[in-house]
Amino acid sequence: MKINKTSLSSVSSLSQKRNAAEKRFRLYGLIGISIGLLMLLILIGTILSKGLTAFQQTFITLEIELIEAKLDKNGNRDLANIKKVTTFGYTPLIKKSFEVLISKENLETDLSSKNASKILSKSAASELRNFVLKDLNVIGQTVSFEFLTNSWIDGYLKGRVTRDTIKNSKNVSPEQLDLVDQLVELGIIKKKFNLGFLLGSDASDMRPEAAGFGVSMVGSFYMMLVVLILSLPIGVAASIYLEEFAPRNWITDVIEVNISNLAAVPSIVFGILGLAVFINFMHLPQSAPFVGGMVLTLMTLPTIIISTRASLKSVPPSIRDAALGVGASRMQTVFHHVLPLAAPGILTGTIIGLAQALGETAPLLLIGMIGYIATNMPTGIIEGLASPNSAMPAQIYEWAKRSDPAFYERAWGGIIILLVFLITMNTVAVILRRRFERRW
């Protein structure tokens, strides 16, 4: 028999192995968590690097002579007559201003003024027309007007479009880019903060530069209003019953199992429910924010009920006993004492539920919140709730589908706005919790 002679102070090979295994295992854990955090960083990095540019937009400032003979032949400033001049009547004015610009600044370009003016957005003429129709006094004057450039020029200034990528493009030519380079140097083409993105509405396929996120933000706002008004009272009432009054029997068991299951039902199933019940059966209008809000309410209720029950449970029984002891009824105990003490927790849960609902897309697609595009801000609460609109995540989806890099940029920009809302809501929830939550 061989005796393993080792000193106590030296490490045996088995111990070495075990220690190595220990280190390896610890490393695996570290790798695991690093991968998780790395993915978060990549995601956030992607969002920021691709989306931040959406908040800037390229504009070109042109001196436009609003020739009276073309816009108002009679010269009597009659709105009805001036309205008869379509956008086609305004296109020559823009071309002309390019001609003037090129000769005045001695720009080197072989482009005709028609091709040069194509660096503008397709909506340029109608922008100009709207400007004139708003204030007829400008007719006959020369005004300096800020136009959107088209999305390729915008992409060129942002580095998304380069001379290599446009080799086979029909939409933009190298000569136009040469012209743009000269205009940038002169300060006539500039990137500026993109207010239209924050306030505007979606635009057609051909005009990504004019597409905005504002109207769908309003759509989301009205939806969240509906979710809050419906799900908070119903959720709190249901939780109070289940936590404070319900006898322990099979019916309450069924309700409880039901609620925890509903919390895990895929969101698209709620969309199918909304389509079948609200739209096909009850004939509520498609694409309306209040229908979307009702669908999201059903989805949010379980979340709110679960968190409300948890915060009701955390109120110690001694509070209830004390209230009952001085002669309050059970109902008074709950509404006068338990509920106020649980309120911070309930609010926190509600905000988190709302944040979840705000980012939800799938159910909205089924009740048609992408089919229509609202072109104007709703003017009142009723219109905001009932007229077709989109919502933030649905609008992002719509842009993602259009397979155009300019729209992708908008989609990422929309995501930044959506995430800002979500972060704000969650921060408020955390602050509420830290500030008001009591430990008993």
């Binding site: 295992f25 991968i35 109902m331």
Partner: protein, 490 residues
């Protein structure tokens, strides 16, 4: 309109009664408060609840049920008055009649009476101008009888609405007058108010049940309609998914289920190792400071909306993969033709699922009692041996529960696969090929301009029901396992 006015007057009455009742009771008792049964505001509250609540409930019920009743009556009207032949599409006619009804509803009042002459003939000129006034396209080819039925329907609804409002008003007026004579200081106002409130609470708790029932009933109903039009054997046991809006579709759930399960497994292969090791590290190795930073950061991944992941898959991760595996890619292999694939959607979905696995597992590992660890250390085991041989086996049921919850999440996930997985239904083992899932098909079948009576649209409900049942099954097992495990150490 008269009905609505009555209703408004009723509401004003109810509000008045709330204000006056408290005052009345306090007037009756004057300074002798001992004779009061309840505190004064309960009398007012009872006034509000007893007069307002029934009216509100009946009004809501009316609003919910009226479309149901009228739809049935329209069909009866149509069948009786038109004598339609069996091959005509009833629901199409119903739709036409309802459009006509809506037109009459929104049109100017004075024009409506002129549409029909004294002898019941339709005055087409007036009708056309009526359509024009509400911006509805007018189709003179429509059967005259349809206009008649639509008009009758409108009239019927209008009269029904008016008489309903009258009844509501009488109810309110009645309950108000009864209330004024019934209430006196010895009336047990608090008792009744609390019982009514309890009833409201119970009703709110019932909404959860109603939602589930609504999901099941509405989808079952549409699914049965689907199976009337489509062979159920093909749906459950067919091999191809090829919906065709001209009819004669082959629609089987199997290829979709295959794609769903494949992508979910791929996602779990990413999420489970990463999530589990993160959980182990956080629970056993990390300092409390690291933990307080890393855990919430990981949970941010769960709070990001899925549309963000979808976009990331479509625009960033898919093309990134294609740069390696696609035509002319870094690996020189042409295995990937589209940015959308099982691997694209699966990996990104895995990212999303990491916190689902890690957070729950972390809680469960933390719930394993310290005595188990101490016993293991006392026997000379290293930390990793304790984790592998003691803690993980003890926490295994809970971890399995967490993984099942993540799996149910993966199967029901929609936006990532809609944007990242593609639209081709097939059985293929290649993770770099595009594949489709149940949820993507639900979206695509229901977002088109499909007719809700064609099997190609109705199939979405059958798919939805299957999805609901699959996830329900996973959830029930997972919740059962998690719960059972938690009880062991409490």
């Amino acid at each position: 309109m008269a009905g609505t006015t009555l209703l408004l007057v009723g509401v004003v009455l109810v509000v008045l009664v709330v204000f006056t009742s408290s005052y009345r009771v306090s007037y009756l008792v004057r300074d002798n408060y001992k004779s009061l049964n309840s505190r004064i505001h309960y009398y007012g509250m009872f006034g509000l609840l007893s007069t307002g609540l029934p009216v509100l409930i009946i009004y809501l019920l009316w609003w919910l049920l009226i479309p149901f009743y009228f739809e049935a009556s329209v069909v009866k009207d149509l069948v009786n008055s038109l004598g339609i032949s069996p091959d005509e599409n009833i629901s199409l006619l119903v739709g036409q009649v309802e459009t006509i009804r809506d037109t009459f509803l929104s049109a100017d009042l004075s024009k409506k009476s002129e549409v029909f002459n004294h002898n019941g003939k339709i005055n087409y000129e007036v009708l056309a101008s009526l359509y024009d006034s509400v911006n509805q396209p007018f189709d003179p080819e429509t059967r005259p009888l349809l206009f008649q039925v639509g008009y009758d329907l409108w009239l019927l609804e209008k009269n029904a609405n008016n008489s309903f409002h009258l009844v509501l008003f009488l109810m309110m007026a009645g309950s108000v007058s009864v209330y004024i004579f019934v209430v006196n200081p010895s009336f047990k106002a608090r008792y009744y108010v609390e019982n009514i409130v309890l009833g409201i609470l119970i009703a709110a708790a019932g909404i959860a049940i109603i939602t589930t029932l609504g999901i099941v009933v509405s989808m079952l109903f549409e699914t049965f309609r689907f199976f009337e039009l489509h062979e159920w054997k093909d749906f459950f046991f067919g091999y191809t998914w090829a919906p065709n809006f001209h009819g004669d579709s082959e629609m089987s759930i199997l290829p979709l289920l295959f794609g769903t399960v494949y992508i979910s497994i791929f996602a779990l292969l990413v999420a489970v190792p990463v999530g589990l090791f993160s959980a182990i590290y956080l629970a056993e190795y990390a300092s409390s400071y690291t933990r307080s930073i890393a855990k919430p950061m990981l949970e941010v991944l769960a709070g990001i909306p899925t549309i963000v992941y979808g976009l990331f898959a479509l625009i960033t991760f898919g093309p990134f993969l294609r740069d390696f595996f696609g035509d002319g890619g870094a690996f020189g292999v042409n295995w990937m033709s589209d940015a959308r694939s099982v691997a694209t959607a699966g990996t990104v979905m895995g990212m999303m699922l990491i916190p689902f696995v890690s957070s729950l597992s972390d809680d469960i590992i933390n719930a394993v009692p310290q005595s188990l660890r101490d016993g293991s250390y006392g026997l000379g085991a290293t930390k990793s041996e304790t984790i592998r041989l003691v803690i993980i086996p003890a926490a295994l049921p809970g971890i399995v529960g967490a993984i099942l919850l993540a799996a149910s999440r993966a199967i029901g996930e929609t936006m990532i696969v809609v944007l990242g997985a593609g639209a081709i239904a097939k059985f293929s083992g290649n993770p770099l090929e595009a594949m489709t899932t149940i949820t993507t098909r639900i979206v695509s079948q229901l977002t088109g301009d499909g007719d809700f009576n064609s099997p190609e649209t109705l199939v979405a409900f059958a798919l939805g029901l299957s999805l609901f049942l699959i996830t329900l099954f996973l959830n029930v097992i997972a919740l059962y396992v998690v719960r059972k495990y938690r009880e062991q150490y409490d």
